[in-house]
Symmetry: C2
Subunit: 338 residues, 2 copies
């Protein structure tokens, strides 16, 4: 349960406390004239030297005859989602959970007298502080399980269709919180023969709802936190059971990768903030092929957010293992789509 | 545990009893002149009317403008392995488990005095009959877990490099027990934009070892029975734990499909013999898109094997739900590669 709280649940805590506060200095990203992808420049939103380092790696593993050539079937990229492909302050999945609580209470007002709904409705911070992980787990279970897979999918799709994200003092659609430079990178990797997988601490179906439309990543290329499922033979549907099968974070990420992909990636990218991607990058680096690891550093208080891990474990790992640090402030010309 | 025995374990029982007996009337398949794939004939080893029915389905879902057109991202095929893509008398994985027992006992002769190895070495049928599923589970655990993923992969690859399968009174390499008509079908589906997945009751890494070279199916497109894994941070390796995470058979197959693929298939194919593919075909048929289900009937005692489920559940399901029955005797011109 401790680990669970670090990914899905603690994230939610913040939201339940209505503490969704954006850094006051956030401004809308400035457009630049140099963000058009061309054959000569696949990464127009990126700055050197990191840009050149990425291109050099991709070239050496994808050029036939190169001593570092990696066959197509092993050219696997695994990329985190929250804080790596889109903003995570707050987690998008938190917003969904809160929205579900509201809907459920409106549909059945008696829920407002039952925990954990009562605590959310009454902004009862003490309940969650006292109940800890167990109370939070109750709430995740209540909003994400106990329905069929089809019902959950419909609910999530409907939510994404209208959901807004608090940013820059206003509210934007969720397609506006993806990092524009990363879209270029995903396309560049695919154009270079990489199979791109999202490996997320978020729950798998939640991310699958937008993986194709936001990132061009098909559902089957999403690895994520998974609830237990049970097939109902009489209705030919799958029921979402109130229990987690895989917590796809930290040491769970290599496990998810082995289960879904069956081999180590040669390119892995995550972010600092929750130490969630260290194990994935280590697993990637132990590939027998040449490999590339990168950690996004949230160091741009003006254009995105500034936050650092208390003990800087992810950045320390970058230094120790020679992984690339992506400074949002210095390495990206723009952050969000215009 | 009951279900476990039906898939991995009961299969092994037969092998442990050294009861690997082939039907006496098996003969080498006869070559025909009509097995060359052309644009006009993608399925030369298949006979009508089933051949035309498959082609009609593939055409209607892959032709833009067709009222039954299915978008590329949902053109998913899920296909069983044992008894559907290659022979299953005995299960290939049984042969591997037996081989591992021999190797382990040779490396450490004291194992021959310990159960369950002792029972295998001494052909002690009574031990497994008395011990039932628990004894068999012990043996699967002993041969398939307790090592790193890398070690298991090497072991399986080495085994496949030299393994022979008892067939037609002799022994053939494992590439010779795949069904030639199915290779044509897999290629035809892929050429028509299908994403082809193997969904097997066998353990996932075992099948991944040959999925690409035998069937052109990449590792990430294999869904199978999975052990629990644990990431070892100090060595960056994954340990195979002595516990099953997903039993990918019967009702487990829709669960495996949801976890790995995230949507229902529109084309599913399995075989009668162990009732293992009924749930998958039902799940496929509940797709909102047009769908196609097919069950291989092992009715060819001359060229392959003749075996039927006691209660014919799979064939009864075909009749009840209007699924296609593939008669190996009548629908295939040849069975094995020449």
């Amino acid at each position: 349960m401790k680990t669970i709280s670090k990914t899905i649940l603690v994230g939610c805590t913040a939201a339940f406390y209505m503490a969704v506060s954006l850094h006051p200095s956030i401004k809308t990203a400035t457009a630049t004239a140099s963000t058009i992808v061309t054959a000569d420049d696949p990464l127009p939103s990126w700055n050197d030297p990191l840009k050149s380092q990425i291109i050099a790696f991709v070239n050496k593993v994808s050029t036939p005859g190169s001593p570092d050539f990696v066959p197509l079937k092993s050219r696997i990229a695994t990329i985190d989602n929250d804080g790596t492909l889109w903003a995570e302050k707050p987690f998008v999945q938190e917003l969904f959970a809160l929205s579900e609580v509201k809907k459920m209470v409106m549909a059945d007002t008696s829920l407002a007298r039952k925990q954990p709904f009562k605590a959310v409705v009454e902004h009862d911070k003490a309940y969650f502080e006292k109940g800890g992980e167990k109370a939070l787990f109750q709430l995740i279970i209540a909003t994400h399980t106990g329905m069929t897979e089809d019902q959950f999918e419909t609910t999530v799709q409907n939510w994404f269709a209208t959901a807004k994200y608090p940013r820059a003092g206003g509210a934007v659609s969720l397609s506006k919180i993806v990092y524009q430079p990363q879209l270029e990178l995903l396309n560049y990797l695919r154009a270079s023969g990489f199979k791109v997988f999202i490996v997320t601490g978020g729950t798998i179906e939640f991310v699958r709802a937008i993986s194709d439309s936001f990132y061009g990543v098909p559902k089957e290329n999403v690895v994520g936190t998974t609830f237990k499922y049970k097939f109902n033979d009489s209705t030919s549907t799958i029921m979402r059971e109130p229990s987690i099968d895989l917590l796809d974070d930290k040491e769970g990420k290599p496990v998810g990768i082995q289960t879904h992909i069956g081999q180590r990636p040669i390119f892995s990218m995550g972010n600092e903030g929750g130490q969630g991607d260290i194990a994935m990058c280590k697993y990637c680096q132990s590939n027998r092929y040449p490999s590339f690891q990168m950690i996004v550093n949230h160091d741009d208080s003006t254009r995105e957010y500034y936050y650092q891990e208390k003990d800087s474990a992810s950045l320390k790992a970058c230094a120790k293992y020679n992984w690339h640090v992506l400074s949002m402030k210095n390495d990206w010309k723009i952050i969000f789509p215009q």
